[in-house]
């Protein structure tokens, strides 16, 4: 029983090694070695990502015409 539990633990532990990175790192002002600015890194957004995300999120929601026109479900 202990052996089985150890094998299961080992299998689960090794499974974690197969995970892919979900995020692209931004290092030394570059993405994968290519220099670029982050979209939110400007005076317009106070160099704050949260402000840009909020603005873009509001813009995203405007694409939903049901919400824009205050649609009520029948």
């Amino acid at each position: 029983m202990t052996k089985l539990a150890l094998c299961l633990l080992l299998a689960c532990g090794l499974a974690g090694c197969g995970e892919y990175k979900g995020l692209v790192p931004y290092e030394n002002g570059a993405f994968q070695g290519k220099h670029d600015q982050r979209v939110w890194d400007s005076a317009r957004f106070g160099h704050q990502k949260e402000v840009w995300v909020e603005v873009i999120h509001a813009r995203n929601l405007q694409q939903n015409e049901y919400r824009r026109t205050d649609y009520q479900e029948p």
Partner: protein, 213 residues
């Protein structure tokens, strides 16, 4: 912030080509180069569908994997961009892309067979949809506009093709939000919840191609 994606709601696209026109006008894309275009499936037949297509900014982008000079990169928002100063115009990305997104100015207007035999490097620098996120030049600069077009994301705006879409068939932005918009629509009308091209573009995990240095 989730990954930026496009959805074309094929039940709504009416092949008006406003997205194509908006893109060309916004970025002053040269004659013959179409970063976005509308494809009609089963033209003239019952069940005809129109699909607006461009670079889908794939999760595991094949263009990034095949580029011999490694000119592609992916931003934190999942937008696939490239450096035109590094591009040698070999055309490998064009062959690898399942959406035929990469465009070459010097091959513009030619039949596909003729363009495919253009000599190595004679095609010019590759051009494609940037998700209105510019390129490696300084955000909002003249140089960025000249090479890659306008950087609307850095202005807090979404791609103009989607924002100009008269029927709101084309959705662009945060994948979670636009997925919910499509789901809500499908629920109201009772059909058509298919996200065209999503399995092909986003159905695979991030790969080492995105980490190339």
């Amino acid at each position: 912030m989730a990954r930026m994606k496009f959805i074309c709601d094929v039940e709504r696209c009416i092949e008006c080509n406003a997205c194509v026109t908006a893109c060309k006008n916004e970025h002053e894309v040269p004659w013959g180069v179409n970063r976005r275009r509308v494809i009609v499936v089963n033209d003239g037949q019952p069940g005809e569908k129109s699909i607006s297509t461009a670079c889908m900014h794939c999760t595991d982008a094949p263009c990034m994997a095949v580029c011999p000079v490694n000119c592609f990169y992916k931003t934190e928002e999942g937008v696939v961009l490239h450096d035109k100063d590094m591009c040698i115009g070999c055309g490998y990305c064009s062959y690898a892309c399942p959406f035929d997104a990469p465009q070459f100015p010097n091959s513009a207007g030619k039949e596909p067979a003729a363009a495919a035999t253009d000599l190595f490097g004679a095609r010019g620098k590759m051009d494609k949809c940037t998700f209105c996120a510019g390129g490696p030049e300084e955000n909002g600069s003249g140089e960025e506009f000249r090479k890659y077009g306008r950087n609307r994301l850095a202005e807090g705006k979404l791609p103009l093709c989607a924002e100009m879409c008269s029927t709101k068939a084309l959705l662009a932005g945060d994948s979670i939000v636009i997925s919910h918009i499509l789901e809500e629509r499908a629920e109201v009308r009772g059909y058509g919840d298919e996200k065209w091209g999503w399995n092909l573009a986003y159905g695979r995990p991030e790969n080492a191609g995105a980490d190339k240095k």
